[in-house]
Symmetry: C2
Subunit: 230 residues, 2 copies
DNA sequence: CGTTCAATTGATCAGCGTCAAACTAGGTGG
DNA sequence: CCACCTAGTTTGACGCTGATCAATTGAACG
């Protein structure tokens, strides 16, 4: 465990209030590892051995059942994932794979649970983190239950535009087939959804999306503070 | 705040480790109230003023967007709800209404947050509670994203059968239209889903469901430890 | 015994998935 | 530098799932 790795962890709100010695203790046995793209990190039914911290790259959390598969969420650096599973000492519940070459800090789940029961500041932050994660899934659940595929895409575009500086031109940060899976549709249907949005001023050129009539797009999308990420 | 109410709260794992004086403090300003059926307790965009404890009756958490509405989960006594919202001092995120006459203990959210920062035992239990809630929504999200309507119904029947003593006959604990909404379909489609399950040994008589070929049902449902509640 | 609302049934339609084929872009080797 | 390969994307045709609309049946309650 080198200093730089400790600094990465310390920069996260989740660990910001943890006592120095508890942090050191938790990080013993942790290791920073680089994975190539498309590597499966763990499967949903595996027992949770590590809390993961994505330091660099991109990770997809997905789930499988029957013969179907769906993206549940995407992790961008720097962020932790599978905290809830690490704390409850259960299965991961979701599978994970790298979408690109990624650097991941792996912290033994047992260490995290020990820190949790010993460190008051950490427990407080964990409560906050878990509450936010919970609301995140609730939003995703509402999104898929209350909106059509085209509406989900329209709202995705609006959120990306806000995140990328409200310029009216966005660059998709992921492949379209991954986006399709995250929005709960097939790649073919995503193509058609983009076509459906053409009359609403959406122009597509590869990974670049141009929003020519923001007002019309919003009218269709009906964005909601209680569904879409801020 | 009478003793009986305190005993109810104390019986919940979430509050089991809280120090006596912190518990008393938290319960000042709390009140037990009875609501008739079909009453809206709060709306998703409302600011969270109270942590709710359902003591008796049944409550539906639902969400609305555009002109659609969907049941997100059902609360059965004795259980808390909207803990995450109370702790983050944000909007409820979900709306709530009583499905039947219900008794609810309402604890000021500010008191809960105070207790959280003062009481180590409570913080530990809150972490656990939130992690379990999180996995609960993840399951629901996987359920709707990876299964068809008929599969969701089949798995619902299997879970209910297990909960009601594996007798092969279950009694639906809610109206069919509520069940339909929870399973993410229309009441009409639920009727047809039951009809689809007839060849798999499902007989319906009002709220009573008979499972005549458990094996066939399971083959269709493909139940998963990682989606269906235990 | 009539009112009311849930549940069912039928007909139709929209949304989305599946399958197949064509097209495109990025990378590789000749 | 170009031909070629591969994988992602797009387009078209078709079919299934589930929603909508309308009408009927059934059950609970005053």
């Amino acid at each position: 465990m080198r200093t730089s790795e400790k600094e990465i962890v310390r920069s996260l709100p989740l660990f910001s209030e943890m006592a120095e010695d508890h942090l050191d203790e938790m990080l013993t046995g942790s290791f920073l590892q680089r994975f190539p793209a498309t590597v499966v990190l763990f499967s949903e039914s595996d027992h949770t051995d590590f809390l993961h911290v994505l330091v660099d790259g991109q990770v997809e959390l997905y789930a499988s059942a029957n013969n179907r598969e769906g993206t549940m969420t995407l992790i961008k650096p720097v962020a932790t994932f599978v905290l809830a599973s690490a704390l409850t000492d259960s299965a991961y519940q979701l599978s994970a794979r790298t979408l690109e070459s990624s650097q991941i800090l792996m912290i033994p789940a047992q260490n995290v649970r020990t820190a949790m029961s010993n460190d008051q500041g950490f427990a407080q932050k964990a409560v906050r983190e878990l509450a936010l994660c919970y609301h995140g899934v609730v939003r995703a659940y509402k999104n898929i239950k209350l909106r059509t595929a085209v509406e989900r895409l329209a709202n995705y575009i609006i959120v990306q535009n806000r995140r990328q500086g409200e310029t009216g031109v966005i660059k998709l940060p992921i492949e379209k087939r991954t986006l399709a899976s995250m929005l709960g549709m097939t790649p073919e249907n995503l193509s058609r959804a983009f076509a459906t949005l053409k009359p609403y001023g959406i122009r597509v050129d590869g990974a670049e999306i141009c929003i020519e009539k923001p007002g019309d797009l919003e009218t269709l999308a009906k964005p909601s503070e209680l569904i879409d990420a801020h």
